[in-house]
């Protein structure tokens, strides 16, 4: 129905695509900081998409300000983007605070497994009573503590300030830190499968 004049906005459309691709990649990460960066990128991508939706750029959208023969740019798109930028700003601030709190409590800002996941992990662990958890990935988290955590008994779980945060910085590839910390459990599950 509406044919956009796409020529000037081709670069913008490309930028939207790149922002979304990079943002989604980061959103899939486990560290809240990276998720936040991903959210910022995707959010900006969405805002740019709305700008493109507003059509070609033109004179400033103030009645009587533009010359007769020149088109105005679409003010509605700009108004919507402004609103969503403000919203994004507020949410970014909140997520930053949450990531910081998570770092305070856990020594890292990674999104942790939900209760059901941990419950399944515990069941898997229970099926292998001979398993020696000395080389379970995270230092200081024994099976008992994990079970206590699963029962939502936060009080009994010692908060471990794992030396992971500095590790993360030196990581050659993004996401490797997470892979390493997960390695113990994953490996254990794998071994279970083999034994069964």
């Amino acid at each position: 129905m509406i044919v956009l004049d796409t020529v000037p906005s081709g670069a913008l459309v490309l930028a939207v695509g790149v922002l979304f691709a990079a943002g989604v990649y980061l959103l899939l990460e486990r560290s809240l900081t990276r998720v936040l960066l991903g959210f910022v990128l995707v959010g900006n991508g969405a805002n740019l998409a709305i700008l493109v939706a507003g059509g070609r750029a033109g004179a400033s959208p103030i009645v009587g300000n533009a010359p007769e023969d020149e088109r105005m740019s679409d003010p509605l798109a700009q108004a919507m983007i402004l609103t969503s930028i403000v919203i994004t700003l507020a949410l970014v601030a909140f997520v930053l605070a949450m990531a910081y709190r998570s770092w305070q409590l856990n020594g890292h800002d990674e999104v942790q497994d939900d209760v059901e996941d941990r419950r399944i992990a515990r069941l898997a662990a229970r099926n292998a009573p001979s398993y020696d958890d000395a080389d379970a990935g995270e230092p200081g988290v024994s099976l008992d503590e994990e079970a206590a955590e699963i029962h939502d008994e936060v009080a009994q779980v010692t908060t471990v300030r794992a030396p992971e945060a500095p590790d993360d910085g030196r990581d050659p590839a993004p996401g490797m830190g997470r892979d390493r910390s997960q390695g113990g459990r994953d490996g254990r599950d794998g071994r279970d499968g083999g034994r069964a």
Binding site: M1, I2, L4, L27, L32, V35, F39, V42, G43, G45, A46, N47, A49, I50, V52, A53, G54, G55, P61, V63, R71, M72, D74, P75, L76, A77, M80, T83, S84, I87, A90, L91, F94, V95, M98, A99, R101, S102, L105, N106, V111, Q112, D114, V115, E116, H151, D152, E153, V154, A155, V157, T159
Partner: protein, 538 residues
């Protein structure tokens, strides 16, 4: 427009709580003033909603905010559906607010119970300074989402209520809440971005974000583009409404919050998503058979997978969270039927479910207080020590499971009838799925009731009861009121169902909605910015 016309009432459910939020934030040192303002704000919003409920029965009430012309300015539309949702949410918010205030009073820190309960109570003390403003912002956001006559304003409404929900869910910042909160926040952020993108696409395709104008222009849009926008919106709302397979975030995040917060989330937030699906599907994308079939399949899966999750749980809060997911399936089933009868049943079911699910979570808050835990392994014998509590749990539980003659039964019968009337194979599958889900709900809730109230308590509990012997009257009162509201829904089911049918009729037939926003075919308002849009997108 005279000063006291009914139009004046439309913005009140949004503005009064927002204003109250600012006021309570400014008065954060004066707890009593905060309480008074919060209750007054919610009560005024509720009164306005009730008035709108009556007024909207004559026809939708439309207001241009700030007198800006409609397609460019933002309008609020209170039709029957919106007014009904507003009223129910107002009742729920008021009861939960009273409950949470009583809990705040009762939870004076420094109780010396065993360390476990202490941890619990410490986490449950809500910092009043931020609780009241946030709660009021949540109320404003919910009302804004219901009233929005504009897709972008709907997005803003969602953001307002979500931002408030982030704060309420992570209140206190304990480890468990931050863990649950981070999952919740990330998922919600994603769905918001998807929604925003869909708004952008809709604007690109039609040159408007006004829902009435979108309803007029959508039929002319290329079907593939239209389908894309429809699916993107469904995806965004599906995450918010917790439709399987987008529901995994819910049972993990809700139970960690304080009881009143969980109650209001469970009652309202997912239903706002359901409302948004109902609104957009009926008005903007009517009659797309494929999508309706997909929705029907998802509805069955949501019901069955959700309730199987509930059956497996041994914690009452988590169990209820899974029943919440499961029963969203009923509403989606009604929407997917895309018939007037199906939509009417879905609307009635939403009203019933908001009330009942909130009530159950409030009761569980009391159970936690009395029994010292929500784990079914650590509860028992409560029927003997707290018979009143047992009744408070039993009535809404039976209501949720759909035992006649309660409102849950009536809603389910409505859905089954319209499913049978539809007659397609998928509809029959959904009908069978609904019945099975209903039975499994009964099983899960009866199991919970037996374990917590009926059977002898585990020995550990007999020796050292961790709960409080006396429940605060301020908490029991609102809970009893909610149970009574649930029963009242049964008593007034006739008129209420008739109202739902009329609401369904108006939302299925887009003309009423469009004509009330653009009387006389789209020439409402003369803002000059109107012409710019016209130029840009003829």
């Amino acid at each position: 427009m005279s000063m006291w016309s009914v139009d004046t009432l439309v913005p009140l459910p949004v503005l009064v709580p927002l204003f109250g939020a600012g006021l309570t934030l400014a008065l954060h040192r004066h707890v009593r003033a905060q309480r008074t303002i919060s209750v007054a704000a919610i009560a005024v919003a509720l009164a306005a909603s009730v008035a709108l409920l009556v007024a909207a029965d004559e026809g939708p009430v439309v207001v241009d905010i700030g007198d800006w012309a409609v397609p460019v300015g933002v309008d609020l539309v209170a039709d029957r559906l919106a007014a009904l949702m507003l009223t129910v949410s107002g009742v729920v918010m008021l009861c939960v607010l009273l409950y949470s205030m009583a809990q705040g009073v009762a939870d004076s820190p420094g109780r010396d119970d065993d360390p476990d309960a202490d941890e619990e109570s410490e986490a449950d003390v809500i910092p009043v300074a931020i609780y009241h403003p946030t709660y009021l912002v949540l109320a404003a956001g919910v009302a804004d989402a219901f009233l929005a006559g504009d897709l972008f304003n709907l997005y803003v409404g969602f953001e307002i209520l979500l931002a408030a929900s982030y704060v309420l869910l992570t209140v206190g910042g304990t480890g468990e809440r931050i863990r649950a909160g981070s999952v919740y926040v990330v998922v919600a952020l994603l769905s918001s971005i998807l929604f925003l993108t869909a708004v952008g696409f809709a604007y690109a395709a039609t040159g408007t974000v006004n829902i009435a104008q979108l309803a007029e222009r959508m039929p002319d849009v290329d079907p593939a583009v239209r389908l894309g926008i429809q699916l993107l919106l469904l995806l965004a709302f599906g995450i918010k409404a917790a439709i399987f397979p987008l529901s995994a975030w819910l049972p993990d995040s809700y139970p960690t919050a304080p009881a009143p917060v969980t109650a209001v989330f469970a009652g309202l937030l997912t239903k706002v998503g359901v409302y948004a699906i109902l609104r957009t599907q009926t008005l903007l994308f009517p009659g797309h058979e494929r999508v309706e079939q997909v929705l029907m399949v998802l509805a069955v899966l949501t019901m069955v997978v959700g309730i199987l999750g509930a059956v497996a749980q041994d914690d009452v809060k988590r169990l209820l969270s899974f029943t919440l997911v499961s029963h969203i399936g009923y509403m989606v089933f009604g929407i997917a039927l895309a018939s007037e009868a199906g939509t009417a049943a879905a609307i009635f079911y939403v009203v019933h479910h908001i009330t009942v699910q909130t009530t159950l979570f409030l009761v569980v808050g009391l159970v936690e207080r009395r029994g010292g835990s929500t784990s079914l392994d650590r509860l028992g014998g409560l029927a003997k020590v707290a018979p009143g509590l047992a009744v408070l749990f039993f009535v809404p539980a039976m209501n949720l499971a759909g035992i006649p003659p309660l409102s849950g039964f009536l809603g389910k019968v409505g859905l089954l009838e319209s499913g049978v009337a539809d007659g397609s194979l998928l509809a029959w599958v959904a009908v069978v799925g609904s019945v099975v889900t209903s039975l499994l709900t009964l099983y899960a809730l009866v199991k919970a009731w037996n374990k917590a109230f009926w059977q002898a308590p585990p020995e550990a509990i007999v020796e050292g009861t961790t709960g409080q012997a006396v429940l605060p009257r301020g908490m029991v009162g609102p809970t009893a009121a909610m149970v009574a509201v649930g029963l009242a829904l049964t008593v007034v089911a006739g008129p209420l169902y008739a109202y739902s049918e009329r609401a369904a009729a108006t939302s299925m037939d887009g003309r009423t909605y469009v004509e009330s926003v653009f009387p006389g075919g789209g020439e409402r308002g003369t803002g000059s910015s109107n012409e710019v849009v016209g130029e840009e997108h003829p």
